[in-house]
Amino acid sequence: MSSPTADTPATGTFVTDEALKRLKKRHAAEMRFKFYGRAAIGIAIIALVTLLVSIFGQASSAFSRYVLSYDLNIEASYVDPEGTRDPQAIERNVSGFNLMLQDQLADEFLSEDPSRNVQRELYGLFTRLAVLPIAHHTAQNMQTIGTEQVFNVALADDIDLYLKGGVTQRKSLDLSGLSRVSGSVESGVTLVLGTQEDAARLNEALTSLTRQDVEDSSAAALIQAGQTWFRMENAEGRTLQLTYLAGARTLPQADASVEALVLAQSQENRTVTDRQIAWTMILKEQGRIKSVLNTSLFTNSDSTYPELAGTAAAVVGSLLTMLVTALLAIPVGIFAAVYLEEFAPRNRLTSLIEVNINNLAAVPSIVFGLLGAAVFINFLGLPRSVPLVGGLVLGLLVLPTVIIASRAALTAVPPSIRTAALGVGASKTQSVFHHVLPLAAPGILTGSIIGMARALGETAPLLLIGMVAFVAEVPDGPMDESTVLPVLIYKWSTGAERAWEPQTAAAIIVLLVFLVLMNLIAIILRRRFERRW
């Protein structure tokens, strides 16, 4: 407070002009600070929400997948050509099952004498390995041979992506009908649309979907008339030149409904052909295509086919690695911190150690990978790509973090607790283990979990010790070859097929769920510890 000068108003007034000005300034500063704080939190929240929305948006399609529920005749001549009825041989006979599926599909969808290309398109609706579960089921239930069974057959990743709205932009038009149709399915069909307006709408859709900035890229239109799908080759006013794609091999009736499916790219420029789309649409109309929960994402191991690839092996690998990391970093870190904080004499050696621990926490993780490769693999001769080595490397990586966090937690325990314990005759060790450590436990736990969370997301050092290997089986133990989630994410994200994209996002979500679970455990443990006092 400024002392009142000669020209300030009467005594007893708390408010001088000067003080008011200062007050105003102080309020302004406060408001400003609050605003900065809110802005900072706002930015953080926006960043987080954007991240989550984009990941979940991408991943959502990976959590479900489209399957064809198909009535399959399990014919002995295909699945067990030798007639041995040996379950193992049957399960391994993937090509036999494939052939069976292909032939039955051909019976249903192809003409008597299809071209090889058309055959290949049809078989392309499925991946080769889609029959694996069928083979497995049949081997387990031998009595099903010779009967008809309904199976959910996973569609190929491109078809799946198309059904989920990917591959190409599209627009469906309900046209009002046809006025005339001539020609034949073999040599081409000429169809005249019912109204001029239909033709205009179709034309408009075609132009709006054609990308202007890319050459040789024009939108394509598929026309469904009655039970038959055609590709539109040419349009002149209401008159459309069509070629047959799929469906009933008859000319549509005069009263048949007509629909158009306009696709932004012609089939040369996309991974799914016109005919495949037509088949897919027919199957979908028949209600034989369903969306199911993509359990293979959680139960399968890695695969070169995105539609079959799962995170199971990586999840187990991550768990095993984290276990080793925790077993190394947490006890060693806590004991080191307790010793340094409570027992070590304050001298030059301890301060040197302290400085080095702090430095160690800032060492890039890849250096730890190099160290791990040199020490554990080259020198100690431990195998590559195993969770044990990964866990040891990550343990060393998070050790400084755990030590620093634990020391901070120990320092935060008021000294009066220590003197109180010593005052009633507790030894130094008793005062630490009975009073200080339990009080510091929540902080130590939080620090450890933060360290573990860092380790869980670490990729670089694990690449160096070979945990990037392709692992198709769930590891049995810490000495079994395995991979971890972040490495899997890295590998998937570099996959060429479009289908890896949602798959990658889904794996990221699995990782996030892992992290959330870890934090949840931390919170629960904290609560339990805190309630004890």
Binding site: P345, R346, P414, S416, I417, R418, T419, A420, A421, L422, G423, V424, G425, A426, S427, K428, Q430, H434, H435, L439, W533
Partner: protein, 274 residues
């Protein structure tokens, strides 16, 4: 020295000392110097503390009262910078002897601190902790008894008997301080050191503690640091006046307060400096 050590261990078990008479010397401090690194905080202090009486340490802030008090239960050992020289005999045994375990010593010399510092545990565990680590109770019933007795002696029993499982930190400041006294009593010490036990308390709580100290005097040797002249005059039988790390005057409280030998003491007591 060996005989002394044995002696020391034996007296641990003699808790009940009801017979009275001319007060014997409980703690005999001889030529105590305390250094914090290079700085000397206590200059050659010799002092005899009587059993079953209250001895008050008074003096201006920073004169070394707490430092000297901490010598008696070797709490200065826990301060890395502190170095104590000289001899302190307790019942004839030199407590600064390396063969004496400070942990055992502290179970015989309890301490109550300036700020109440209960453990963040239940009231029951606060009291029970000391007896448990010293193995004074064999079983729940015995422990219950120790807890109740200690709380009764500290005059806290009636207030907390229904909530022994409540955290010690949930008590009021005065109750917490009495809890700390009860905690000190629970390990059956012979000497209780109190460093300004009432400085954080209101007059009513202070009166309760003073009353308590007066009762405890019958069984224990009590040494307390205080900044309140009235308090020293009210509760102590002996008073020691410290100044700048030196013991200026030591004698019967009555004499110190009515007819001090040193002008400095006179000045301090009458509030002319401090």
């Amino acid at each position: 020295m060996d005989g002394n050590v044995e002696d020391f261990a034996e007296t641990t078990t003699t808790i009940d000392r009801t017979q009275s008479g001319s007060a014997p010397i409980k703690v005999d401090c001889r030529h105590i110097d305390v250094f914090y690194d290079d700085k000397q905080a206590i200059h050659d202090i010799s002092l005899e503390i009587e059993d079953r009486s209250v001895t008050a340490f008074i003096g201006p802030s920073g004169c070394g009262k707490s430092t000297f008090l901490r010598c008696i239960n070797r709490m200065n050992d826990t301060i890395e910078a502190a170095k104590v020289t000289g001899e302190i005999f307790m019942d004839g045994a030199n407590i600064n002897d390396p063969s004496i375990d400070p942990v055992l010593l502290r179970s015989r010399v309890g301490m109550v601190f300036q700020k109440p510092n209960p453990f963040p545990k239940s009231i029951y565990d606060n009291i029970g902790y000391g007896p448990r680590i010293h193995g004074l109770a064999s079983g729940k019933a015995e422990m219950d008894e120790i807890v109740e007795k200690s709380l009764r002696k500290a005059g806290l029993w009636e207030e907390v008997k229904d909530r022994l499982q409540a955290p010690g930190t949930s008590l009021s400041g005065g109750q917490q301080q009495r809890l700390c006294i009860a905690r000190a009593i629970a390990v059956s010490p012979e000497v209780i050191l109190m460093d300004e036990p009432c400085s954080a308390l209101d007059p009513i709580a202070t009166a309760k503690i003073e009353e308590l100290i007066d009762e405890l005097r019958e069984r224990y040797c009590i040494v307390m640091v205080t900044h309140s002249m009235q308090q020293a005059a009210r509760v102590s039988q002996k008073t020691a006046f410290f100044h700048l790390g030196k013991l200026i005057e030591y004698g019967d409280t009555e004499k110190i307060f009515t007819n001090p030998e040193h002008g400095r003491t006179q000045d301090y007591i009458t509030g002319r400096f401090g």
